[in-house]
């Protein structure tokens, strides 16, 4: 682990009545990002990138979260308000994170 390692935080909603399997999704995302050399945290508002992970459309992770960091918002089977199949979410989140850091490294607008 280096000091410059990218940090990504998965911020959970609390999970009262989830319509997607947040635990499994978080584990998939964590596994993939770990392999990319990122440091995956939980419930941290000041990570380099924050994935708000809510089990339903009430979107509590984002609603009660407080972060101005670049972010992706999962609310039930949706990513940033676009409906997706549950099994598509992990790949889309990983793409979103990877794209962000790639643009950052190439000094492109995010």
């Amino acid at each position: 682990m280096t000091e410059n390692m990218r940090t990504i935080s998965i911020n959970f909603c609390g999970g009262c009545n989830p319509r997607i399997d947040c635990g499994r999704l978080a584990a998939e995302v964590r596994h993939a990002l770990d392999k990319q050399g990122c440091k995956v945290l939980v419930n941290q508002a000041d990570a380099d990138f924050v994935v708000f992970l809510s089990g339903c459309t009430a979107n509590c992770a984002w609603r009660y979260g407080d972060s101005d960091r670049p972010q992706a918002i999962v609310a039930g089977a949706s990513l940033d308000s676009f409906a997706l199949g549950e099994n598509e979410l992990a790949a889309e989140i990983i793409n979103r994170v990877s794209d962000y850091f790639a643009k950052l490294e190439n000094h492109l607008p995010g």
């Binding site: 959970f12 909603c13 609390g14 999970g15 009262c16 947040c22 939980v42 009660y64």
Partner: protein, 484 residues
């Protein structure tokens, strides 16, 4: 001090010297007693989930006293968001335990006592709120489970506390000393009492001047000298002594109630939050009951989620899942369950700030919530029994299934659809039995009826807050009748 882990909670209970009677015997070790243990596991889950980052948003909060992260059960609601999160946390815990997890009464008690002692001090010049805040700080720092105890045995319901034949039928002050008070009496139906570190006592009804000795609120360690407990029976409770894990329905979790007796218990002044201020007893009852009626819009919904899931599985295992009437019954169960949840969320979202800064729910909506809870779980249970079929109450025991000879017969004749082991079918039917008429029915059915006040108590509050006169004026305006 950080929050307790689940294991630390269990270890802390072992250090208590509780005096608990169960079926006529003094219990040596309540934590490991097979009848009590599942209820301890339910409270333990309130600690376990708080350790899990996935549930932290609901299970934890930031203390307004210290800024520290604390278990939400020790938190005073500082916003309507807090009230909403409380309901969501309760739904979550209901889902994870399929039982009463018992810690809500303490949370509802501290929130009610906070605002009432604050307002009492402002009006009467007392210093109860400061004492209460010191206790709350300890509760938060040590992550304590506190049993909020309100319901007295009440004796003759037609008589006030001071008019009863036996003066002990309501908890009352028998002696005032320089250093504190001595109390005697009992509290009935005390949820989670045996799994609590401390108890918070409140009066149970509005009181008049003659009842001043009964207008008393205080905290005490659960194992204080002079306090003892007589554990409540539950339907099918001795199945837990049989050693199997199918017939109990829910092997791991449960709830409990106990009769809590005060035999001349000394309470130092620093732990007394009301002593004779009878004019505030009604306000304390109203606020505690309001919070607790909100609670049922979360916890019962979570248990309902499990029951609906169990009914759906029973339909699958019976091969009836494609029948339109079964689908429709499951839809009805979801509709009823979500209606309860909607009420819990609504009374929270419409909450407001009291003088102490603690938020209170909308009392009308909280009472509507609980009034629905006195009905809907019964209908959900009825539909679950309908879908499950009669085998739920007629099937042989786990011992028969395990028997070297007749086990094969049970296996053969109790099978449902191919591919699903008979044991699975038996397990899901026993879970439905547990929730609808076994040990968990105490929490899911009768507690839904009488817990936090019987149905008529909510109707009185709805009548008070329903604003019928304003509705008449609306009707007059529309109908063209002159207004007042």
């Amino acid at each position: 001090m950080p929050m307790k882990t689940a294991q630390q909670y269990e270890d802390s209970l072992r250090k208590l010297k509780l005096k608990v009677y169960l079926q006529g015997e003094l219990v040596d070790n309540p934590v490991d007693h097979p009848i009590i243990r599942p209820s301890m596991n339910s409270v333990k889950m309130t600690y376990a989930l708080a350790e899990d980052p996935q549930y932290a948003e609901l299970m934890t909060a930031t203390s307004h006293l210290t800024g520290n992260k604390i278990n939400r059960f020790c938190h005073l609601h500082r916003s309507t968001d807090d009230l909403v999160k409380k309901v969501k946390m309760q739904r979550l815990l209901g889902q994870k335990t399929a039982a009463c997890f018992q810690r809500c009464v303490g949370m509802d008690a501290i929130n009610a006592v906070d605002s009432v002692t604050f307002e009492m001090d402002k009006k009467l010049g007392t210093n109860y709120h400061e004492r209460f805040t010191k206790f709350l700080l300890m509760m938060q720092e040590e992550d304590l489970t506190v049993d909020g105890a309100m319901t007295d045995p009440k004796g003759d319901r037609g008589l006030a506390p001071s008019k009863q034949d036996d003066p002990d039928l309501y908890v009352h002050v028998v002696e005032k000393r320089e250093d504190g008070i001595v109390v005697r009496g009992a509290k009935a139906h005390q949820t989670g009492a045996v799994n609590s570190h401390w108890i918070l006592i409140m009066p149970t009804i509005s009181m008049g001047k003659d009842d001043a000795d009964y207008a008393v609120s205080f905290v005490a360690p659960a194992d204080a000298e002079g306090i003892f407990y007589i554990y409540g029976r539950q339907s099918c409770d001795t199945r837990k002594l049989e050693g199997g894990d199918i017939d109990v329905g829910n092997r791991q979790f449960g709830g409990h109630e106990a009769l809590m007796v005060f035999d001349n218990v000394f309470i130092p002044w620093e732990h007394v939050f009301m002593c004779g201020e009878y004019e505030f007893s009604g306000l304390l009852v109203e606020r505690f009951a309001g919070y607790h009626r909100q609670s049922y819009g979360g916890c019962k919904v979570g248990v309902g989620d499990v029951l609906i899931g169990a009914a759906a599985l029973a339909a699958d295992y019976n091969g009836a899942h494609k029948a339109s009437h079964v689908k429709d019954k499951l839809i009805e169960m979801v509709h009823l369950n979500e209606t309860l949840y909607a009420c819990g969320i609504a009374c929270s979202a419409e909450g407001y700030k009291t003088a102490s800064g603690t938020y209170l729910i909308d009392l009308l909506l909280a009472n509507v919530c609980k009034q629905n809870v006195t009905r809907f779980p019964y209908e959900i249970a009825r539909l679950a029994e309908d879908i499950a079929g009669g085998l739920m109450v007629t099937m042989p025991s786990e011992k028969d299934l395990r028997h070297p000879e007749i086990g094969k017969i049970v296996e053969k004749y109790l099978r449902g659809v191919a591919g699903v082991p008979t044991e699975y079918r038996m397990r899901i039917l026993r879970l439905i039995e547990n929730l609808t008429l076994g040990t968990a029915a105490v929490g899911y059915r009768t507690e839904s009826m009488h817990g936090a006040g019987s149905p008529q108590a909510q109707r009185i509050m709805i009548a008070r807050q329903g604003n019928i006169e304003q509705k008449k004026e609306l009707a007059k305006a529309i109908a063209g009748i002159p207004l007042k």
